[in-house]
Symmetry: C2
Subunit: 353 residues, 2 copies
């Protein structure tokens, strides 16, 4: 099992909270709404799951790495609507006898208080929160029918040892071959842990819906969102060292545990796992219903990186780092926008064999 370091989105109600700065993720999730429906209608096999003969059915669904709402609530609703439709089409089921249990999972440090308080008051499911890393076991065996994970697989359980040992922050050298390889290897091992845990938890015939941020094959890291973000963060940290605000050692030991795969890389990892069949794997361009302003971009980056920055530098320095980061978003905005156009979303459907 991986012993996963917490990498949580910002909770609560602050300006840079995830709940206020997750429209990119929302757009991505919305864009695959139809795909999710189709995937469930075509692959949620009522007979194999034992629902064809029973008079009642309780469907158990998990959203892994859900952060706080509202995106996770939209996803849950989408999935449930599709399952209801599947039962309706089967006709031998009474829809009223269907019940849903929804498990919302994220790290122990996730803001579950906010998640729970913002649950939709009229909802079709019994809600539960499940704390812990999705690289580990979270549920009893054969206790889930559907699992969903979006925009979360790229968070590594830890910074790879090889990168830590270099004592040079990955934000300065994210394109170097050794660094890329170390991150890629770490991700491979993390996804293996993830799949092995889910293989225990999903019933045979159970489905896993994955929406993963990725970069197109052949695009260099420097031209990806992560690459540009690292560059800007790197120059920001360098400035603060020069200004005497941050110590060089502290900066050198700062690494961001994120890695975006290519489609080829991810497919290879998924194929090695013998417990799941790949039923679908589609590439989608990251949609942007409303383009982010530089300020919106800065807030979105912070909602994602605030916790890891705070953990490393402390609250006060994190504040200074992001204030400085904000001033650098505008001058680098065309790079950010270009990188976003290089962002791919992979929509994947796995079935538990």
């Amino acid at each position: 099992m991986a012993s996963s370091k917490a990498f949580t989105m910002t909770g609560g109600d602050v300006a840079y909270s995830y709940s206020k700065n997750s429209t990119i993720q929302r757009d991505g999730v919305d864009a695959v709404k139809e795909q999710i429906k189709e995937a469930i209608l075509e692959n949620f096999d009522l007979k194999r799951l034992g629902f064809d003969t029973s008079s009642t059915a309780v469907i158990k669904i998990a959203d892994l790495g859900c952060s706080v709402g509202p995106n996770t609530f939209f996803v849950m609703e989408n999935i449930i609507e599709a399952v209801e439709l599947k039962f309706l089409q089967a006709k031998n089921q009474n829809l009223a006898a269907l019940e849903f249990q929804a498990f919302f999972n994220d790290h122990y440090e996730n803001d579950f208080n906010t998640l729970f308080k913002t649950l939709p008051p009229s909802r079709k499911y019994f809600a539960a929160g499940v704390p812990g890393s999705f690289h580990d076991r979270l549920f009893p065996k054969s206790s889930l029918h559907l699992a969903h994970i979006s925009y979360a697989l790229h968070f590594l359980s830890k910074v790879p040892k090889e990168v830590v040992d270099r004592n040079k922050s990955n934000v300065f050298n994210s394109s170097e071959k050794e660094v890329v390889e170390a991150y890629s290897t770490q991700l491979e091992s993390d996804i293996e842990c993830f799949l092995n845990a889910r293989a225990e938890e999903l019933v045979p015939g159970g489905l896993m819906l994955i929406l993963a941020g990725a970069v197109p094959d052949g695009v260099p890291i420097s031209d990806t969102v992560i690459g540009v973000c690292n560059d800007v963060m790197g120059s920001c940290l360098k400035d603060l060292v020069k200004m005497g605000v941050l110590g060089e050692e502290k900066v050198n030991s700062f690494n961001v545990p994120i890695y975006l795969v290519t489609p080829t890389e991810l497919e290879a990892i998924l194929r090695t796992n013998e417990n799941f069949s790949i039923e679908k794997m589609e590439k989608h361009v990251q949609p942007m219903k409303k383009p982010l302003s530089p300020e919106g971009y800065a807030l979105a980056v912070r909602s994602s990186l605030d916790a890891v920055t705070r953990n490393h530098f402390g609250d006060e320095f994190a504040e200074q780092i992001f204030n400085h980061f904000n001033t650098k978003v505008e001058p680098n905005f065309s790079k950010f926008q270009g990188a976003l156009r290089n962002s791919l979303n992979l929509f994947i459907l796995l079935k538990r064999i």
Copy 2:
């Protein structure tokens, strides 16, 4: 369904938090440890529950109104140890194939963040938090094998309408016949909602363990913990009205939604429900391993009443009320101690028919 008002214990890490001021509850839970074990060994019917033939078993347990730790974790451990022993004794089960899923339930406003962060790192169960009132449905049908509730049934879903309409705080007149009757009727209706919800959720043969605070038959309210607490709170609020700190109307509309049953009352309510059989009902004197100091007493009262007081009076006034309340505990200490000796714990085992 009752629409239950939140009545949450104080979360977080403050001096008057529930986690730091729940030794009375801890002593009570510890005192029935053996009873819980015995109840499970004698009544957890592996054959009826379908565990006698399966090669693996997932046991699902809920603690209802769990607040934050650590008490709920001790209880969960006790229950799990007893179930393991039961399986061991049955001998046809491989203990390694047993898995447990523990559901920790309390109101949406409960401090689940603290609950999750303080989960015992090495534990025998998969943990989940379930937000919502235990007067309503919380789980899918037939999805629990064991439910536990301690020191929580006395929280009413709301202040009875008759009491609200009197526009005279119940802390001034908790012994009046009309008030007592209105509270008693409300509790009866709340427990019915509670039992009906659990009847859906527990599998046939499933067990419900109840530890309920109560007062001996025939003891007047004024001689109980609630009575003394109301008296002291009442005189405290009167002082603050006189001092011009609180308005009279605000004070008159303040009611504490708590009612302690007598054993006869509770037994009558439980007997009317046709979904459960009463397997055990024992009276225990509330144990006190280490007597509380006046200060400890004041903190314990606040850990329980802080939320309801804050909700009604606002943060600033709640602070003043408890500061004033604290000065009144010492002069009334013998009354508090006497009332505590009048406290009964009822240990009840119900079985889902």
